[in-house]
């Protein structure tokens, strides 16, 4: 058994053996898991995919005279930001779109610009237009402001993502007769194509499937800079059916992440448009797994052929919240370019970039080997499969009217 402290000491001395989640697969094949666990100190992981529960909060600084944007209205490049915080604290969500965006009025809508794109532009160093109106108070008399602003002008600019890095996701297909436009991309009729969205064997939460080392306080690569896991993500669902290796067969765990936007890079934070669906933010995440024992090494060395997911119809089953799987496939099958559904050969494609996930795992490995990145031992574990968490749907409870007319 190794400790995170011992591993950090090795990093300091430049003696840590760091492998990516792909490299460790061959290492285990050659040396066996027992010897590999003794020799390998850290396994780096990565993922780069659309993650819609993302956003950033900013403190834009006080104007002269002061304005109370809190409780008023604010727009960044025409995209509405949330103002229910302090006077000059605003939150911009990735999926926010301009008030006058036509949405799906002419179907399928383009959704060419929104919160995700504003975040990408800010991280790229560009100026955006901040327009805000306020109701005015004695201490905050100003009612209107229009100004150009960049990240460098702000006090704080913090990436704050309530749900990222989904541990597994469905494979989306369309059994209906017309093309559909979803967050899983354009799905052609009659099983025309199958889209998946996961880095598979490189995904951080597949490499630590029971959240033994990834928890609150874990230091990570986030958007090209450093960030931290701060909570479980929304819809974190650890109590699902799993394989013998502990890999969930359906979407399971999620993590909430935070980091300084000023230290990030637009290569790893991209505004994303899904035709007919909406705007999103594609986030690059990399998490180092400390190899504290043999069990964690065996899991970190998981292969695509050992991870499965479900094929789900997005024309009827998904929108109607009918839980029905059209079959189970492995990520190896998905990455081959073709799977068989109902006896039909269906071409596959991903929405999550494996090539960039690989690059992230490599970058994180370089940071650690270069002594620029030390592991942070988590201060609180995330709820796992013994937590009893039940994933709830929204049960409708009508309001009771006092004077029904």
């Amino acid at each position: 058994m190794k400790t995170v402290e011992e591993i950090n000491e090795k990093i300091k001395k430049g003696k840590a053996l760091v492998l990516t989640a792909e490299e460790v697969i061959d290492f285990v094949r050659q040396k066996g898991s027992k010897r590999a666990a003794e020799q390998v100190d850290i396994v780096t992981t990565g993922t780069f995919g659309p993650m819609c529960s993302s956003g950033a909060y900013f403190n834009v600084g006080h104007s002269k005279p002061r304005i109370k944007i809190g409780g008023g209205k604010a727009y960044l490049n025409g995209v509405p930001a949330y103002t229910g915080l302090a006077a000059v604290d605003i939150f911009l969500g990735a999926t926010a779109i301009p008030d006058d965006d036509p949405r799906n009025a002419v179907f399928p809508g383009q959704f060419s610009y929104g919160g995700g794109h504003v975040i990408e532009e800010l991280v790229a160093g560009k100026e955006v237009r901040l327009t805000a109106t306020a109701y005015g108070t004695d201490c905050y008399p100003r009612k209107r402001i229009e100004t150009r602003i960049s990240l460098a002008d702000m006090n704080e600019a913090v990436l704050f993502n309530p749900r990222n890095c989904y541990q597994n996701y469905n494979v989306a297909v369309n059994v209906s007769d017309r093309a559909i436009y979803t967050y899983m991309g354009v799905l052609q009729p009659r099983l025309g194509n199958a889209n998946y969205c996961s880095a598979g064997q490189l995904n951080p939460l597949f490499c630590d499937p029971l959240y033994r080392t990834i928890g609150i306080g874990t230091r990570i690569f986030l958007g090209g800079g450093m960030g931290y896991v701060i909570w479980n993500g929304t819809q974190h669902n650890p109590c699902v059916p799993r394989t013998d290796l502990g890999m969930p067969r359906v979407p399971a765990g999620t993590i909430a992440l935070i980091g300084d936007l000023k230290g990030m890079h637009p290569r790893w934070l991209r505004g994303t448009s899904f035709r007919g669906y909406g705007v999103n933010l594609t986030v690059g995440i990399g998490i180092p797994i400390p190899i504290v024992d043999e069990e964690i090494l065996v899991q970190a060395a998981v292969r695509d052929e050992d991870i499965v997911t479900q094929i789900v119809d997005y024309s009827q089953s998904y929108p109607q919240r009918e839980s029905e799987s059209l079959g189970e496939v492995t990520y190896a099958q998905l990455k081959s370019g073709e799977i068989t559904v109902d006896g039909k050969e269906v071409p596959t494609a991903s929405l999550s970039s494996y090539a960039m996930a690989r690059e992230i795992a490599d970058i994180l490995k370089e940071w650690i080997q270069g002594g620029q990145f030390f592991l942070a031992k988590c201060v609180q574990r995330l709820p796992s499969r013994d937590s009893g968490i039940v994933f709830k749907g929204l049960q409708e409870k009508p309001f009771r009217t006092r004077n029904p007319i």
């Binding site: 052609q188 994303t272 448009s273 594609t282 990455k335 991903s350 090539a355």
Partner: protein, 135 residues
Amino acid sequence: MPTTKIVLRFPPELTDQPVTYKLIKEYDLMVNILRGHITPKEEGMLVLELTGKKKQLNQGMKYLANLGVETQRLSKDIRWLKDRCTHCTACTSLCPGHALQVERDTMMVNFDRDKCIACEMCITVCPYSAMEVQF
């Protein structure tokens, strides 16, 4: 031998004319049908790639014009903006000409312009606006 891509539009009364047969037999042109949408008695559209001697190509085009078929060179150019591409691969399963393909070792996308038929499906699908069309 020169190759040209053309878009043919047929009015309803011409949709049953064996146009491609004539282009091959009488004008000695190699015909590759890239895309077709023909419903008998309704307007039809064909995207053809014609290869042949320059004189034959010109004569073939004259024949089409005389017949009343509207022709237009396919001058749409699909560009892959590599810097914007994240190699997510979403475009590859929808490309009818297989111009966009995944290189399985690197899991990176490759764009073979020669195979592109300018259907613009990739432009609809690409989440990062990494494909664009130029006229």
